[in-house]
Symmetry: C2
Subunit: 402 residues, 2 copies
């Protein structure tokens, strides 16, 4: 945790990846994050992966360092209390992250009547507010039709990384910071809506895929080949797979040289009347080029490939399993400063990541694990809302808090 | 473009997706972005997808609304000029986004001697600064081994969405905002390093996948099945594919009811001694459940599925190609406010996206297309560095600028 945003207080009422990761990012740069949890846990409290005892490793990963206030959100008194917390005074508070419906009891319109400078960052599924998840947005946008090899025929291939959720979480944290900076200058609060589907569609627009589809039609499947330049998986002599990429002219000449392929590549270039210094030409002629590399890489062990590629500054990586990567790849070591080993609510002790950015001008503080549900209920209600011990006791007795 | 950050001036010297998208996000919320382009274009100036005339749709998507200053960065005078621009005075300037090497001529250490409160956000590949792209990081982290069906055997399956690049771009924009807020309070600048591989690894940590790999080993391939709950692609009677998801108990009961599957599901639940109200049980018993849904969905046309699922609030989407989605799906329409139709440098006129977030408290202004290389060279050098017309003429004559 970096102490960059330590004057900010954020209230979160959210589930799944985008909303909770938005608040996690803010917390890991120093904001105090108060998470309102429904008593017994929200919709994602048991989301897989889970530990052998059933506790969610997913949930405890996303809630690291947050304070948990457990409230019965089905009852009017609970909803009132949540609204009190969200709109509690403080010049650097009044920041709310949620994926609850826009028209429900956590509507910005009603909350902002209590605190006009409230900033609500609301993650939506589709832009009309109807629910969507990464898998449904991705299917709608056609990515599974261009993932995997042609051999998949008329079968879509889902990707497993929750890409749009993760982009949306990071982008929502950025959007909150922009709205908060605007409030610092103007005093104005506002609602900021971040639909998963708009994030995905905008990303495809920003990287030219929307323009491509509109002007040239749908992209076919290219299997593991990198689109528009040279790149693919190759098999080594000892049965290992490596991903090799050459986008720039320099990467290309380095790769060719490292495999001593200058002569056969030049022959091919001449016979095809091609210019492989242009990345697009390497893609257009990939089926002619790949066999040369299949043969050259197939004659080397992974260790030999590694030696040649690393000394030749080739852009490449072995395909590893995640566990192998974590155990053996120094570039992905679970060590400080990025990782700190903690005891988590699941009972497991394992290294967990802090902020993915390294700030040279501030010191990384200790990482805190996820809270138990309601771990900070009494403390937060006393601190933020100045509720007396007897009032807090009454709320417990009535089952409004836990 | 929302006028939220209109007092900020950002200088960008970056290529590919993460750095340029970071600056694009800042620009779309109002920051003035000055992009330093090498004369003739940087490493990604011709990146695919390209238009029929060879112009990059990718490049023009990522540089929308930026001002381009073309400088010969191979020569000392050009490097000096770039450093002048990056460190030019102004209370809300001194913000620099780059993916140039940490030790090169754009090192933060030397730049910050000219402007001590400079904030440099530097996107790296691996955390040690060696180069990496989305494809190599992803291969190293094992995602291609759990993408696609078991039938792929020992063949990895790359995904096509540049997920880690996109997350890194959004996260870098967030990190810059946090550093800038810190500077507002303290006056301190700093370098912020955002390695692609740390972003990817932290994301897998935050969502429990690192913990899963450490405690239970590598996840196998589950094909198109959603991990840990109910979800998969299904084929309709008329040969269409739909992605159907049920993570929450409510989504599950809604899905079962919409297909009139209450009775057979209850029989199965009882015979398996399972409790399908628990999402994990639906995943454990997916091979027993899927045939019921294959049959029920396979007996309906896509139109019938749509009617049932939409009235039953089922979480689903048809698999569409991107072009079909853009042409026919109202949830993904390329219309205002998210999209505006512009004339782009490629010569094509097509709708391009603004900020993916909607700010209710500010008005979206007009979107600007990407610049031509060097379109704003003279204007920016006069405005920001107060260079005289004769000095600018000299620089042109010497080929330092274009």
């Amino acid at each position: 945790m970096y102490p960059l945003l330590s004057d900010l207080r954020v209230v979160e009422c959210a589930s799944f990846i985008a909303g909770p990761s938005c608040a996690l990012h803010l917390g890991q740069l120093g904001a105090q994050v108060i998470r309102i949890d429904p008593i017994g846990g929200g919709m994602d409290f048991n989301r897989w992966p889970v530990a052998a005892n059933g506790r969610s490793l997913y949930w405890e990963g996303l809630q690291k360092g947050k304070r948990s206030v457990a409230i019965d959100l089905a009852r009017p008194e609970g909803r009132e209390l949540a609204a009190d917390l969200i709109t509690a005074p403080g010049p650097d508070a009044g920041l709310f992250v949620t994926n609850y419906p826009q028209q429900g009891f956590l509507a910005h319109e009603s909350l902002s009547q209590r605190r006009p400078d409230l900033i609500t960052v609301r993650v939506l599924g589709w832009r009309d507010g109807s629910p969507a998840v990464d898998y449904t947005v991705n299917a709608a946008l056609g990515m599974p039709w261009i993932t995997g090899s042609e051999r998949n025929g008329d079968q879509p291939v889902n990707h497993v990384v929750p890409a749009w959720d993760l982009v949306t979480g990071a982008y929502a944290a950025f959007a909150l910071m922009a709205a908060e900076r605007y409030r610092l200058r103007t005093g104005l609060g506002q609602e900021v809506c971040v639909p998963l589907s708009d994030v995905a569609l905008a990303c495809l627009g920003h990287t030219g895929q929307v323009a491509e589809a509109l002007t040239a039609g749908d992209r076919p499947r290219y299997g593991n080949a990198l689109f528009g330049a040279f790149g693919r998986d190759f098999l080594t002599q000892d049965g290992q797979r490596v991903m090799v990429v050459a986008i720039t002219a320099r990467q290309w000449s380095g790769l060719v040289k490292s495999l001593d392929l200058q002569a056969p590549v030049a022959v091919l270039e001449s016979s095809l009347q091609a210019n492989f210094a242009e990345e697009g030409q390497r893609f257009v002629h990939r089926e002619a080029l790949f066999p040369l590399f299949d043969k050259a890489i197939g004659a080397l062990t992974l260790a030999q490939v590694r030696e040649r590629f690393d000394t030749g500054s080739v852009l490449w990586s072995p395909y590893q399993t995640l566990r192998t990567a974590l155990d053996a790849d120094p570039r992905l070591a679970l060590t400080e400063p990025l990782f700190q080993t903690l005891e988590h609510p699941s009972g497991h002790r394992y290294p967990a990541p802090g902020a993915a950015a390294s700030f040279q001008g501030a010191e990384r503080g200790p990482l805190q694990p996820a809270p138990r549900l309601g771990e900070h209920t009494d403390q937060v209600l006393a601190e933020v809302l100045s509720l007396s011990p007897s009032r807090i006791g009454q709320l417990h007795d009535a089952g409004i808090i836990a």
